[in-house]
């Protein structure tokens, strides 16, 4: 059973390992940049998905699209995530009435990020603490 604490630690550790130039010091700071200025969404999204891959131990591929718009009131912008299980090539985020391959989350706080990780882990059939779920 994956706990909230494990996810928070993993998010920070994963973020530390990203080699993006000029990135903020911590994941929480990166979230602030994203929420307040609408920049660094790629970094936030990548951290979330790498954390899912690490905690699940599965061979995964993903695509993240921070949906930045001109609307400054729209912070935090939604981020679209597509998650694929590489061995089966199955798109795990496929769904909805239009069969969209992506799911969309507004990631504005650490709790939002933790909940997103919890959601993807549960898609992978990994048990998570109930409070992690969206």
């Amino acid at each position: 059973m994956i706990t909230r604490e494990q996810v928070v630690e993993a998010l920070e550790r994963t973020f530390e390992g990203l080699s993006e130039a000029g990135k903020p010091l911590t994941f929480v700071e990166a979230l602030d940049h994203w929420t307040e200025r609408g920049c660094g969404g790629d970094c936030v999204a990548e951290t979330i998905m790498r954390t899912v891959a690490i905690l699940s131990g599965r061979e995964l591929a993903w695509y993240c699209n921070p949906m930045v718009s001109e609307d400054l009131d729209a912070y935090p912008y939604p981020i679209a995530f597509v998650l694929v299980d590489i061995p089966t090539q199955r798109c795990l985020t496929l769904g909805g009435v239009n069969n969209t391959p992506h799911v969309t989350f507004s990631i504005g706080t650490l709790d939002d990020a933790v909940a997103a990780v919890g959601y993807f882990l549960s898609l992978l059939g990994i048990a998570v603490e109930e409070e992690l779920l969206l």
Binding site: V82, L94, N98, N99
Partner: protein, 143 residues
């Protein structure tokens, strides 16, 4: 066998039907030019490409899942659109590209340049090939 000319005609017919004013014939290349010159989100271009793939492949609209994102640099759109295409029945991601090299991560999107009519035709031909539809000039190409 789908020909490039068929793809071109299908793209223009769909664009005219969906975005024309009913008086003068609208062509996809106008949408592409407008996108590149005005830096506006190219809904019309993306929708036209996707609709052409449905028409030419004969797939029903619930058979495929699409995600499309026009790519940007710091200032404007680059002219490339990233696509993720999923077969909705099997759930298989058709745009997944695995790497034989462990240091290279798998990629599930393809970024295709859509700055000219020819590139739009190439993009549709690419997706048709992914769906197993034979396309003129791509008969022996591996998917």
């Amino acid at each position: 066998m789908v020909t490039r000319e068929q793809i071109k005609q299908t793209l223009d017919r769909i664009y005219d039907r969906e975005y024309g004013d009913g008086v003068t014939e609208a062509k996809l290349v106008e949408g592409i030019t407008f996108w590149m010159q005005n830096a506006e989100y190219p809904f019309d271009v993306i929708e036209t490409l996707v609709e052409a793939v449905y028409e030419l492949s004969g797939k029903p609209h619930n058979a495929l899942g699409w995600h499309a994102e026009p790519l940007r640099d710091e200032w404007s759109y680059t002219g490339e659109i990233a696509f993720v295409l999923v077969d909705a029945e099997s759930g298989r991601c058709l745009t997944l590209q695995r790497s034989d090299r462990p240091e290279t991560e798998a990629c599930i999107s393809v970024a295709l340049p859509i700055t000219t009519e020819e590139e739009a035709v190439d993009a549709v031909a690419y997706f048709l090939r992914l769906l197993g539809v034979p396309v003129e000039g791509l008969e022996g190409a591996a998917s």
